[in-house]
Symmetry: C2
Subunit: 292 residues, 2 copies
DNA sequence: TCCTGTCATACCCGGCAGGTATCACCGGGC
DNA sequence: GCCCGGTGATACCTGCCGGGTATGACAGGA
C-alpha cells in the first residue's frame, strides 16, 4: 500500500487550499461526508496526520504542508501527461514523436524574435507545426508544468527557469517608456531610482490570476491598456529594449543605465525527449548564436 | 473526464514496458483480462490510441510513447509526494517544514567534502537531521525525482543537472589511478588518450541497474572492487582529484592534462520550499564560497 | 490440420466510492 | 444558563466498477 490515487490527491489539495471540508466538497462537486472519509483514509494509508481539525475549521500539519506542495507538483505532472498524450494522439504522427508543439509566449511580447523564430522554423524541412499560445504575466512556468505548453519563451530574471532546461537567445538592456510630454522624457538616460517612484506616474500593477499586487498604480491586464495609460500620462513602464517596436507617438523611450539586463531564453521541461522540440530549439539557438 | 488515476498510469506503464499484456499483468499481480479492459478504458477516456495490437504482441503508438515518458515522470512525482510526506510526518515537526533531510551521495565518493559539510551543518543551530543515503552510479537523479532523497551531491558533467536547482561547490581536475608498477605510472602527467585505450588495462564497466555497458573491462559495482582491481594491475580508473584520499599503496595517481574539470554541485528538486533544505544549501555554499 | 500463444469478450461478485440523514461538538449570542 | 448556527464525524444504504474465471477470436508455426 504505497500508492495514492490522483483522486485522493485532488481531494486533499481541495481541502488543503480551502481549509474547509464543506467548501472543498462543493468545489469538488460532491458531498462533505465522503470527502471527510476519503481524507481520513488517506491519512491512515500514509500513516501520517495531515490536518488538524480545530473546533472552527482546519489547519495543515507539517506533513500536510509538504503534501500540499509535492502533491500539486504530482497532479500537474499527471495532467501534463494527459494533455501531451492527447496532443500527440490528435496529430497521430507515425514516427513516435509528436509533430505539433505548443509555444507559450507572454502576450504581445517578443514580436521580432518570435516572428524570426517562426519564419526560420517553418523554413526547416519536416519542421513541426507550432501553435503559439499567449500566456498571462509570468504564467509560462505553469503552462510548461501542467502540459498546456511544450516550450516557452521566457525573460530572465522575470521568469524563473528553475526546473526547466533552457538556452539563452538574446540579451537586452531595459528602457523606461514615458509620456512624451513628461519632463523626465527629455533625459538622455535615466536610473531605475528615477522612474520607480515618480509621484505623478505610479508604476502600473499587472493582473496575476485575477488579483493585483497592492500599490497606487493603475490595474492592467494587457499591454495595450498599458500603452494607452502611458500615452495619457498616467503611468510609466520599464521594458526590455525590444519593446521599442510597439512605441506610440505619445511614448518616449529612455535607456535605463542601471537596470539589470534581460535575457530571453527558450525553455522546456527537462525530461522532454521529442524530436520536434529538439528541432525548434536547434533553430532558435542557431538563429541567435552569439559569439559567447 | 480529463483525469487519470495513478492506477491506470501504473497499468499502462507496465504494458508499455513489457509490450505484452500477460507479462505486464503478472508483474502487476493481477489477471490479464482486467488489464486489457483498463487499457481500453484509458484509451477511450483519452480519445487516443496508445497501443497497436499486433498479431504477435504489442507496439507503442506515438501517443503511447509520449505517455510512457510523461506518465513515468508523473508517477515519480506522485511517489515522491508520498515519500516526502511520510518522512515529514514521521518527525512530526511543529513549524510546518520537515526537520529531516535525505542526502543522496554516490557511494564512497566526496569523502572530505561530505565530512566537512556534515560537520558544518551539525554546528548550525536548529539544523535539520541529515540522513546520508548511498546511491549507485549516477542514480542520484532518480532518487531526487522519486522522493527517496531530498538533496544530492552530484558531479557535473557525469550527473545531469537537468530539472534540478543546484549550486556549484567545488571544481577539480581529474587524475588517472594506475597500478604503481605500470610503466605509465612513472609519467608526471598524462592525457586522456593515453589511458583510455591501454591494451593490458581496459577501463572498468560500472553496474547500472544491474546491467553493464559492453566492452572488454571488468564488471564492478563498488569502489572497493575497483581499487582492488587497480592494485592487482588489471584496470585503470579516471577520477576527480579528491579521489587521492582513498589511494592505496599499490596505486599511483597521475594528473590528466586534458580531462574536463569536474564540478561538484549540491542539487535539489526545483520546487522545494523547505527551510531545512535552505539551511543545508546555505551552509554548503558558505563553506565553499569561491572567489568566482 | 491442429496446437500454441496472443489479446478480447462475457459474465459474475465483492468492495468501495458516493449519497442522505444524523450526530457530537463548540462558540457566540441573548 | 439556554439555544442556535456551523463545523467535521458517523451510520447506513446503494450502485458502480475493478477484479476474477471461463471462453472466444485470430494468427503462425510444425
Amino acid at each position: 500500500m504505497d500508492t495514492v490515487e490522483t483522486r485522493e490527491l485532488r481531494y486533499f489539495l481541495a481541502v488543503a487550499e480551502e481549509l474547509h471540508f464543506g467548501r472543498a466538497a462543493e468545489r469538488l462537486g460532491m458531498a462533505q461526508p465522503p470527502l471527510s472519509r476519503a481524507i481520513q483514509q488517506l491519512e491512515r494509508r500514509l500513516g501520517v496526520s495531515l490536518l488538524v481539525r480545530n473546533r472552527r475549521g482546519v489547519a495543515l500539519t507539517g506533513a500536510g504542508e509538504v503534501l500540499l506542495h509535492e502533491g500539486r507538483a504530482a497532479l500537474d505532472a499527471t495532467t501534463a501527461a494527459i494533455r501531451r498524450t492527447r496532443r500527440a494522439g490528435g496529430a497521430d504522427s507515425p514516427g513516435g514523436t509528436r509533430s505539433r508543439l505548443v509555444l507559450a509566449v507572454k502576450a504581445a511580447a517578443f514580436h521580432e524574435l518570435l516572428q524570426k523564430l517562426l519564419d526560420a522554423h517553418a523554413a526547416e524541412p519536416g519542421a513541426a507545426e507550432i501553435e503559439v499560445l499567449p500566456s498571462g504575466t509570468c504564467e509560462q512556468e505553469e503552462m510548461l508544468r501542467d502540459g498546456r505548453a511544450d516550450v516557452a519563451l521566457m525573460h530572465a530574471p522575470f521568469n524563473s527557469l528553475a526546473g526547466f532546461d533552457s538556452e539563452e537567445l538574446l540579451t537586452e538592456g531595459q528602457i523606461a517608456i514615458l509620456p512624451t510630454g513628461h519632463p523626465l522624457a527629455a533625459h538622455r538616460t535615466l536610473a531605475l531610482a528615477d522612474v520607480s517612484d515618480i509621484p505623478d506616474l505610479p508604476l502600473a500593477r499587472w493582473s496575476r490570476h485575477g488579483t493585483y499586487p497592492p500599490g497606487p498604480g493603475p490595474e492592467i491586464h494587457d499591454q495595450t491598456q498599458l500603452a494607452q495609460l502611458i500615452a495619457l500620462g498616467r503611468t510609466v513602464a520599464v521594458f526590455p529594449d525590444s519593446a521599442r517596436a510597439w512605441l506610440w507617438a505619445e511614448h518616449t523611450a529612455v535607456p535605463l543605465i542601471d537596470a539589470p539586463p534581460v535575457v530571453t531564453h527558450i525553455a522546456w521541461p527537462a525530461h522532454s525527449r521529442s524530436l520536434a522540440l529538439a528541432g525548434l530549439i536547434r533553430t532558435a539557438t542557431q538563429l541567435y548564436a552569439r559569439a559567447h
